[in-house]
Amino acid sequence: MKKSTKAAVGTLLVAALFAGVWLAERLAGANSMLVTVLEKGAIYALIAVSMNLLNGFTGLFSLGQAGFMLVGAYTYAIFTIPAARRMAVYQYYQGGIVQFELPCLLAIVLAGVVAAAFAALVGLPVLRLKSDYLAIATLGFAEIIRAVIQYDKLGPLTNGSNLLKTYPTFDTALFPFAVAGVCIAVILMLIHSTYGRACKAIRDDEIAAEAMGINLFRHKLLSFVISSFFAGVGGALLAMYQGTVQANAFKSSMTYEILLIVVIGGMGSVTGSVLASFLFIACSEWWLRFLDVETFIGTVQVPLLRSGFRMVVFSVVIMAVVLFYRRGIMGDREFSLDAIARAFSGKKRKGARAK
């Protein structure tokens, strides 16, 4: 399949995707579950891919994603609350010290940059640790960041433990799709660049990678900082999606959720992470919701169905994937137009030979 046709088909597919989203929004209405799932799915896809860049592609087992999402979400919210409303939002801190507001896109980029700065700070002591210690250390840092942001003395900046709200949000699902799409494209280009290959080498065999002249620490830090940048952007998008953001919600259980999305999708597969995100959000927010509702068929109550059952079914499915289907949906294969082309031509060739 020539490069030019592949580019053409690619852009066609992307255009079809955006048209589909636009259509879904028009038909199902902006407040329908379908649009909500599309929006949250896109945001979680970006965050899952950013975590996959770290866990799946560089082999660094980090559990700090919620911490960097929190930094991103708060940076976005703090710098975009309209000045008029600051007095009411920062009600206990006399309107807070930040009195200006930034345009949306600039604030989203700033969210990523601040999260990346935190990652550089965190990365220095943490990246020399072995895999399981790295996991616990990054988990610890996420908890420390959450405690610091809720510190009362920082109230004028972060509004302490109270909600941040009334900052601008997106009103069409195309916005998170566009931002997430661009970011995932950048991550894909990084993975296919020489630096991406170096990260994959580190994942496969650190000693051999170092013997081939790859500076382990610098490349791990690069991967860690970039992953946190996109986690920050994802956090900003999540803040826009929710309309309100509070440090207390960014617990380690949020990181576990994203890790399990990456595992279901397949460690080391960007397509896997994207697919798994939409599947995970669709199931948890929409399709499996009926498991929580006490439904009656005639007079008899369907057993087991009551609030919380959805999450139990979910955790059992995830354990099944982790134990028996370890490669996840896509393993480490990527969706590629060549693969599909070959599949098509394969059929034709087989057909031809049969004659």
Partner: protein
């Protein structure tokens, strides 16, 4: 002919166990030098000290005029230290990490093959060209360095052709037969454009016919890329055939050194290998 690699009084101790004891060697430019000795004599440990994987307990290693490792026993090791020259290398300790040593120009292969298992043969060699990149993360990600990328791919393909693996470039590295994996490791090492090539038992597991081809191959790449080769090997005919000089070590100590002919009839070497018959 300048000295490419100089190992001075190197001792390596793991706790109380002495792996290398006061070893001194040198390799001159353009030479093929072999390091032989019975199993467990400390050959691979010596390689690991040279390539920065281990920090030697005592002694100094220099590559050309740049010191790549220099240390003296410290802390607990002071009491445990059993080697000599404990006072000769006091002062600032130097330890270059393996990637910096590779950047200086020392490339190595591994005794037990360490290929990147999820990558194809071509990608394995392509990763080794990463070292000589001029692009930074931004230009690389945005593919502004397309010219450099093309050059890297050409060089990787060239290395594959040199080792005769061009046609299995797309195969997964670990699915290649054993002999080809060995040659792929050499191609990967060559891709870092080294001056000194360290081969760790390149002929291990090869039949005699393959070993002869390997000997010719090593001589050919030495001339073609103006390399110096320092090799650990057990196949005696390969060693005797292509090496200019041989070091023999046993229980971490050097027991003989010299041209292949001298070493072959050296009684100490025979005893070390074949053991002394009890009269």
């Amino acid at each position: 002919m300048s000295t490419v690699l100089r190992v001075k009084d190197v001792t390596m101790q793991f706790g109380g166990v002495v792996a290398i004891d006061n070893l001194s060697m040198h390799v001159d430019e353009g030479e093929i030098v072999a390091l032989i000795g019975p199993n467990g004599a400390g050959k691979t440990t010596a390689f690991n000290c040279i390539t920065g994987v281990y920090e030697p307990t005592n002694g100094e290693i220099a590559f050309g005029d740049c010191i790549i490792a220099r240390s003296h026993p410290t802390g607990k090791m002071k009491k445990l230290y059993a080697g000599a020259h404990a006072d000769k290398y006091l002062g600032a300790r130097v330890r270059l990490s393996p990637d910096k040593i590779t950047r200086l120009g020392i490339a190595r292969t591994f005794q037990n093959i360490r290929l990147f298992k999820s990558q194809t043969a071509f990608e394995n060699v392509l990763i080794a060209t990463h070292l000589r990149r001029t692009s930074n993360p931004f230009t690389a990600t945005l593919h502004i360095n397309a010219a450099e990328e093309r050059r890297m791919r050409e060089r990787a393909m060239e290395m594959l052709e040199t080792v005769g693996l061009a046609d299995s470039a797309g195969e997964l590295a670990t699915s290649l037969p054993y002999g080809q994996q060995r040659r792929l490791e050499i191609a990967r090492a060559l891709a870092t454009q080294p001056k000194l090539l360290l081969l760790d038992e390149p002929a291990a597991g090869m039949n005699p016919q393959e070993t002869d081809e390997l000997g010719a191959f090593i001589r050919e790449i030495k001339d073609r890329f103006q390399l110096t080769v320092f090799m650990i090997e057990h196949h005696m005919n390969l060693v005797m055939d292509i090496s200019d000089r041989i070091y023999v070590i046993d229980f971490g100590r050097q027991i003989a050194e010299g041209a292949p002919a001298e070493v072959r009839d050296n009684p100490a070497v025979i005893a070390a290998y074949l053991g002394v018959d009890e009269e």
